[in-house]
């Protein structure tokens, strides 16, 4: 390491001697992509903890049948908040807004995003959205109880605080749009000399594809939220069946956004996995072109399948035919990615460090979630399992097992770069195994319950489901233990761990040429664009 220069002293999270602002203002008004990324990360993790605790309470309630612990109204509000917070405040911003913000510019050799002030503004929108969402819990006639899908006509009739919640969703949507817009422009305009599209790290490719979904799909969510608001407040009657309104059209609008949104959640995580696997295999990524292309293909084809959430809704059989077909089409690019990741491991030189552990966990959990997605995509079988715990299991596997583990992998991969310190590897591995065990014990029984007909969003259930619900609740405790261990270990590591070297894993992308922790100004000269997956001459330090 450089002896004349102490990287800790000039870390980007330390006060900047050259800049004017200081203290809190230097953070919340910061236009530095790294600080904004860190701000996002901390808020997202806070929201994640809050919503997982809600999940834990849900499971505690469901441990035994009967009216225990929560009143029906409380339960309904509980899963609504759990879903709304998890979706709109956690997984949609998760990887792009935090690690995307920090590392996308660095990956392409830029010192910031194209519109840094807009970036700060988008963080503020996130804060406002979060505050409004919280407001909706404590004001008006109680927390929203519609489920995160806000289906009409119920969402128009319920007296709970839905109006405030949908405005929060609207604002969060715009926060997401601005992030996507910023990334697209950044990737087009700020690549370092020689950083051609074919040298773009796959993480950047995945954020590029995500950006397009954010820009083109999220406005539909915006208008949907506004319409609910208008229906409730102005009584427009656009979805009111008594006046000829069609509740199914609401569902179309909702899913036109919310299906593509699941790819907003998963694509960046897939990008993280595509970065980690080659680094720890010390072998070029297998089929770079196909992985990059499949991100775009998922983004595009993912916009065509929304009505697979509506097979039982009463829409036309023709639509069922078309959307079921398209749903299967979108599974193919995901399959390509999984196989290419596996082939990257093949004949590599693998070091099972924590980031790789989490990445492999991602592949396992995402595969289970994705393959059960095929059961849902097939029309005949979806009729049986729609709106049952099978769906709940499916999406927890893909969201938590996929995006969640992808996020954890990113945290273990990049924490040393961001904070310049290393966490404890053994504890990280322990937490990983606890999490994997917990998740499977928690969510796998849900598949079985779903097949047996247990409907979702039930605060009480028939006694026949009791044993599996009990097992599933135990799982949530293992999971909680794993998560607490993981967060604690990361916190300890980033705070007090031994100093990390510049390139602890031996990555070949540009951020690993920078000192750890990251500095205020990353590149003083335009960097030379590297081959991102060429490990000749690049070795892990120490």
């Amino acid at each position: 390491m450089d002896h004349t220069h102490d990287p800790q002293a000039t870390a980007f999270y330390k006060p900047d001697e050259t800049g004017g602002k200081s203290g809190l203002a230097s953070w919340i008004f910061s236009t530095d992509h790294k600080r904004i990324g860190l701000l996002y990360l901390s808020l997202i993790l806070l929201m994640f903890c809050a919503a997982t605790v809600l999940g834990l309470i849900i499971k505690l309630k469901l441990m035994t049948p009967g009216s225990t612990l929560l009143s029906p109204q409380q339960y309904n509000a509980m899963f609504t908040l759990h879903g709304v917070i998890m979706i709109f405040l956690v997984v949609i911003p998760s990887v792009p807004a935090s690690f995307g913000n920090i590392f996308l510019p660095l990956h392409i050799g830029a010192n910031d995003v194209s519109f840094p002030r807009l970036n700060n503004f988008s963080w503020w929108l996130y804060v406002i959205g979060a505050l409004l969402a919280l407001t909706s819990i404590f004001t008006g006639d109680g927390a929203p109880d519609t489920g995160w899908t806000f289906y009409v006509p119920f969402s128009e009739r319920t007296t709970t605080n839905v109006s405030v919640a949908v405005i929060a969703v609207f604002i969060l949507g715009f926060s997401s749009i601005l992030t996507g817009l910023n990334f697209i422009t950044t990737i087009h305009r700020l690549r370092a000399p020689g950083m051609t599209w074919k040298k773009l790290p796959l993480f950047a490719w995945s954020l590029y594809a995500t950006g397009w979904i954010q820009v083109l799909a999220t406005p539909i969510l915006g208008i949907t939220a506004l319409l609910i608001f208008a229906e409730r407040v102005l009584k427009l009657g656009l979805f009111n069946p008594a006046q000829g309104g069609d509740p199914l059209l609401y569902q179309h609008l909702f899913w036109i956004y919310s299906h593509p949104a699941v790819y907003i959640m998963i694509l960046p995580a897939m990008g993280v996995i595509s970065e980690i696997i080659p680094v720890f295999s010390r072998k070029p990524i297998f089929g770079y072109n196909m992985i990059a292309f499949s991100s775009l293909a998922i983004a595009f084809a993912g916009s065509l399948v929304w009505a697979h959430h509506m097979f039982t809704s009463g829409m036309s059989d023709t639509a069922v035919l078309v959307f079921s077909f398209l749903t299967f089409v979108v599974a193919i690019p995901s399959a390509i990615k999984v196989f290419n990741w596996l082939s990257t491991l093949y004949k590599g030189s693998i070091s099972l460090d924590p980031p790789l552990l989490f990445a492999l966990g991602f592949i396992l959990m995402f595969s289970i979630g994705g393959l059960t997605g095929l059961v849902l995509g097939s029309a005949g079988t979806d009729i049986h399992v729609h709106d049952t715990y099978f769906v709940v299991a499916h999406f927890h596997y893909v969201i938590f097992g996929g995006t969640g583990l992808g996020m954890f992998a990113a945290m273990h991969y990049w924490a040393p770069k961001v904070f310049g310190r290393m966490y404890d590897h053994a504890k990280a591995a322990w937490s990983f195994w606890l999490i994997i065990l917990g998740m499977n014990v928690l969510y796998f029984p849900m598949f079985i319950m779903g097949l047996q007909g247990m409907p979702r969003r039930y605060y009480d259930y028939l006694p026949q489901y009791a044993p599996l619900q009990m097992v599933s609740t135990w799982g949530s405790w293992f999971l909680a233990a794993g998560l607490i261990l993981m967060f604690w270990n990361l916190y300890q590591g980033c705070r007090y761990g031994p100093p990390a070297t510049k390139n602890p894993w031996g990555g070949a992308t540009l951020e690993w040429t920078l000192p750890s922790p990251l500095q205020h100004e990353a590149f003083h000269h335009d960097p030379v664009a590297p081959e991102p997956y060429d490990y000749k001459g690049v070795n892990p330090d120490g």
């Binding site: 009739r157 509740p247 089929g287 770079y288 039982t312 193919i332 049986h384 409907p455 039930y458």
Partner: protein, 428 residues
């Protein structure tokens, strides 16, 4: 494909097996490969990684093979979906209205029940709709699930191949008591089914009868078959009468909805032979809705004479009991038990009396003075409102108005605590 021969449940299960089978193989393969690579190519064992960037053939294979597999899954899924959708032509039709948080099944002969009773082996086609928000009819045993949408009719069909009781869930989240919106399908023998259809309901009163009373019909007509000032109304439906027309000709008239309406509302085309022309024409005094109820009663009769029980029937039919229990427990609204005569929820602290109930039924939020999930019931007829109020009174807090047998014991009371009990009151 001959839809009649397809067993839909079997078709769906085959698709399940196919997709699960392929998935399990793939999952085991992927996991095994992952573990094997991590062990075999660990840095200790394999310090020098290979350097290849790809392999065209391999990539083509794993584009083509998954494509074929998913197309197979798609086809299989679509095939079983069709089996679920195409009802055989000989299916019997049952209409279903879902509402917060109970079900109302209507059979071809007009009988209603809150549990679906079907004959074994006979295909049943369902025509579903909803009175308020979205619900979902989900019968896991038959692999069917159809959402009920207000303002729209959706369809589905199933066939119970063996007798038994099969649970029905509400699958679409519909608010507070979504989890309690459970009933069942009872598959019975053909004879038993016919007996069920013919049954006159389990002692529950009929609002139409109350109307006959309140409109004064019963002062001239009896219900027991003996003629009075006018002919008895017992079994009037379908009876053939002889009318004497103004020009003294005799003509035959078979009583159905149209001819009874003519007789009640006028203008009459003649006088029933053997009676004086003394019945007033009720045009303008009986509303269309009331008439429907009365005709409904005349058509199918009702043995119960008990006032509050007619109210219970209305409360059940209108879905009140989905939100208000009769046993003191809270569902969405306050329990009806002890409600009447006590202090209401209204902002102004008004007592619950007939006028109050009437006002709440017309405009719940307005009367109570705050937003509420209770829908307004502007469509209730005066008579229905009347019997409802009687019913509430019978459950009221002031003991002397309560009838001997507590109505909470009547079968079909939604007590809101027993999931899957699955036998709400059948009514006619």
């Amino acid at each position: 494909m001959e839809p009649k021969l397809v067993n839909a449940v079997q078709a769906v299960d085959n698709t399940f097996l196919f997709i699960f089978g392929v998935s399990a193989l793939l999952l085991v393969g992927i996991t095994a490969a992952m573990i094997w690579f991590v062990i075999r190519y660990s840095r200790k064992r394999n310090p020098n990684p290979a350097t290849f960037h790809g392999n065209l053939l391999a990539e083509v294979i794993w584009i083509v093979v998954p494509t074929l597999l998913v197309m197979g899954m798609f086809y299989s899924g679509w095939h079983s979906y069709r089996a679920l959708r195409e009802a055989p032509p000989d299916a019997m039709l049952v209409k279903l209205t879902a509402r917060m948080w109970s079900w109302d099944f209507e059979y071809e002969n007009g009988k209603h029940s809150s549990v679906l009773v079907v004959p074994v082996g006979k295909p049943v086609k369902l025509a579903l709709t909803s009175a308020d928000v979205l619900h979902g009819f989900f019968a896991p045993a038959f692999r069917i699930k159809i959402d009920t949408v207000p303002g729209m009719t959706t369809y589905g069909w199933f066939r119970a191949d063996k007798p038994g009781e099969f649970v029905v869930f509400c699958s679409v989240y519909c608010g507070l008591q979504h989890a309690k919106m459970i009933t069942s399908i009872k598959a019975v023998s053909q004879e038993e089914y016919e007996r069920f259809l013919a049954e006159k309901g389990s002692g529950l009163g009929h609002p139409g009868k109350a109307l006959l009373d309140s409109k004064g019909c019963l002062s001239c007509h009896t219900l027991d078959g003996t003629p009075s000032m006018g002919p008895s109304l017992k079994d009037v439906w379908g009876r053939e009468a002889v009318l004497v027309t103004p020009d003294k000709k005799e003509k035959k008239l078979k009583y159905d909805a149209a001819s009874l309406k003519m007789m009640i509302m006028g203008p009459r085309t003649g006088v029933v032979k053997g009676f004086e022309p003394m019945m007033p024409a009720y045009q303008g005094q009986i509303t269309e809705d009331e008439l429907t109820l009365m005709l409904d009663f005349l058509e199918r009769g009702d043995s119960s004479v008990d006032g509050p029980e007619a109210g219970r029937a209305v409360a059940d039919a209108q879905g009140c009991l989905g939100c208000h229990s009769t046993d003191g427990s809270d569902i969405a609204g306050p329990s009806f038990k002890g409600l009447f005569g006590g202090k209401g929820l209204a902002k102004d602290g008004a007592k619950v009396d007939a006028a109050y109930v009437e006002a709440v039924l017309k405009d719940p939020a307005g009367r109570i003075g705050k937003p509420t999930s209770m829908p307004a019931y502007p469509g209730l007829s005066d008579a229905e409102r009347g019997v409802l109020i009687k019913f509430l009174e019978s459950l009221g807090g002031t003991p002397h108005t309560a009838p001997a047998g507590s109505p909470a014991d009547v079968p079909g009371a939604h007590d809101g605590t027993a999931p899957g009990k699955g036998h709400g009151g059948e009514r006619q």
